[in-house]
Symmetry: C2
Subunit: 356 residues, 2 copies
């Protein structure tokens, strides 16, 4: 039997490790590199095992598991969504995830994913916009200036060329903070007093609000011809952001229809409302933007393959950066079938130490 | 906003912590106490959200997620099953799990579960046997003397009163090791040369083999009247241990029929083959053993509530034992919506440190 060292150890990327990883690579470069992984995995969409995420709903929110596999690697994310969490100083969304080796079932990586989810969500939005936004789009409205907003702005700068931002939030402090955080990154930023003001002249409208309810962040008259809508905030049953009339006028692009019909903006529509799968556009099997006046809508809810891509990307950075800890996660008896004997040997060691 | 200290920290029970926890409590006491949690949770079965585990099958094995919730706590386990893993010095089954607060979605505990799964599987088997085994059963055959065998033996000693063990494995070294590991624990142990020899005179037959195939560990003529069969090894599609004729003669008890019909011994039977849910027996809503001559079969595949009970139990030991580490798993910005600002502050800290 070959001797495999440290079979018990799984690399762990803590929150601090993740921050240092992002900062050492640079947020914009990180988003750019991450987007190539996301795009590559969308392109080979058909190699993935796909299921709608497994949701456990409660009064205050939802806890979800999002697994997928490409036959070589298996990944899953745990993520919660609890809009009222901010009242107790907690995050609305927290997440962690695991990447495993399919052939052995052994985890290869355990990682914080609260920060990583924010990055992969923004990167995915920007990948979609690369294919769907009008040509030379450089002005984006962001409605909802919470935890996701800065990441969206930077991803759209890096991948789409957005330079002008029009920010609006029902909480002016959120807008102020977002504008402040984005200072010095090369944006022309305007804080707006209303959604109407924010969308005026915008080529791209990003909605990223967090309330768990059917809200109308955008009404039909606010959406001019040729606009690309990046709807990020509606992501569970009973949580939408767009008026139904917008959906009727838009060409709608989704990640995984089976999941989006449950969770996305299109939960407002009949089950057979036509949508195009984003991966088909990326793979060249379907057309994205057809005309200058077309309204395109990326009805983003987040899908397991994006987390898989993100875990793949950060795993590929580990060797060079060393930004991880070793976690004693897996039982590794000298003899694999002798789990109980491992306890007995530990007992002997304890007794030996105690008698010293 | 109340200041909550250490919102980022999640207690982590490593493999070493788990071994020390089990040893400091004592294996037998641990199994006894754990079984009270398992039994209590079976008794309130109807309060749990239940889904069949989410399996990702591959050529070599399976990776599964097993979530459940009682409305207050949410738990899930990641577990793999890869029979050929032992060839590369790895465990057939490894596992880890998380217990979370439903109201906030925040994880409360992250734990190794390779060892814990072995313990909860044995405790569940013994709980079932308390209700199903013949009166004064004190002799158990264990066919398949791998990682699960010693735990089964000790659980049945603690909960059912088993004192005599009849061990058989196709690998005599496995039997030898099992017998050796159980020395000095008060058993009368016989290593047997065949399954036939092992089951002779046994009141309880435990099958715990690991091959991923439809095997026939027990044939009909080996099962005498009044015997209780504890079938642990058949736990995924295409993996069974008992001849079909035994199922036809037995009263079959299962954890969660929707899952057992896919994974258990009863995958060999029509979808409407009658079974009794174990929780109903424990709750007094269904009869367990009715007569001296009845053959009872616990078709165990392992269910999410058992892992939930196990996580609940080990969590209740943390404060007294201190056997855990603190894991920096959750992003905890000073201002919950300001995830990006957390990165900026980290950047400032890094620059400050670098300039010293």
């Amino acid at each position: 039997m070959p001797v495999l060292p440290n079979l018990n150890i799984v690399p762990f990327i803590s929150v601090e490790n993740m921050m240092d990883l992002v900062l050492s690579i640079g947020v914009e470069t990180f988003l750019k590199e991450l987007s190539t992984y996301i795009e590559a995995d969308f392109r080979r969409w058909e190699t993935f095992d796909k299921v709608p995420r497994i949701a456990s709903h409660s009064r205050e929110g939802v806890i979800e598991l999002m697994p997928t596999s490409d036959g070589t690697l298996y990944g899953f994310k745990y993520v919660n969504g609890h809009p009222k969490n901010t009242r107790s100083g907690r995050q609305t969304v927290t997440a962690f995830g695991v990447l495993s080796d399919v052939d052995s079932g052994y985890p290869l990586l355990f990682s914080e994913m609260t920060i990583l989810t924010a990055l992969r969500t923004a990167a995915t939005s920007a990948v979609a916009a690369k294919y769907l936004a009008p040509e030379n789009a450089d002005c984006m409205a962001i409605i909802g200036n919470g935890a996701q907003s800065e990441f969206q702005a930077i991803a759209f700068k890096a991948l789409v060329g957005v330079r002008k931002l029009r920010l609006y939030d029902i909480d002016p402090h959120a807008t102020e903070r977002c504008a402040h955080n984005l200072q010095g990154l090369g944006f022309d930023i305007r804080a707006c007093a209303s959604s109407e003001e924010a969308v005026e002249g915008a080529h791209i409208i990003t909605t990223a609000t967090a309330d768990k309810q059917n809200a109308t962040i955008l009404t039909d008259n606010m959406v001019g011809p040729g606009v690309h809508i990046n709807a990020v905030g509606g992501d569970c049953p009973g949580k939408t952001e767009l008026h139904r009339d917008i959906l009727l006028r838009s060409d709608i692009f989704v990640e995984y229809p089976q999941q989006t019909r449950i969770e996305g903006e299109i939960q407002q529509m009949p089950a057979d409302h036509p949508v195009t799968e984003l991966w088909q556009v990326i793979a060249g099997l379907a057309v994205g933007r057809r005309s200058k006046d077309q309204v395109t809508l990326f009805d983003s809810v987040g899908f397991a393959t994006e987390d898989f891509s993100a875990l793949r990307y950060v795993r590929d950075q580990l060797a060079a950066t060393g930004l991880y800890e070793n976690l004693d996660l897996l039982a590794d008896p000298d003899e694999p079938r002798d789990l109980f004997g491992m306890l007995l040997r530990r007992q002997a060691l304890r007794e030996q130490l105690a008698s010293r």
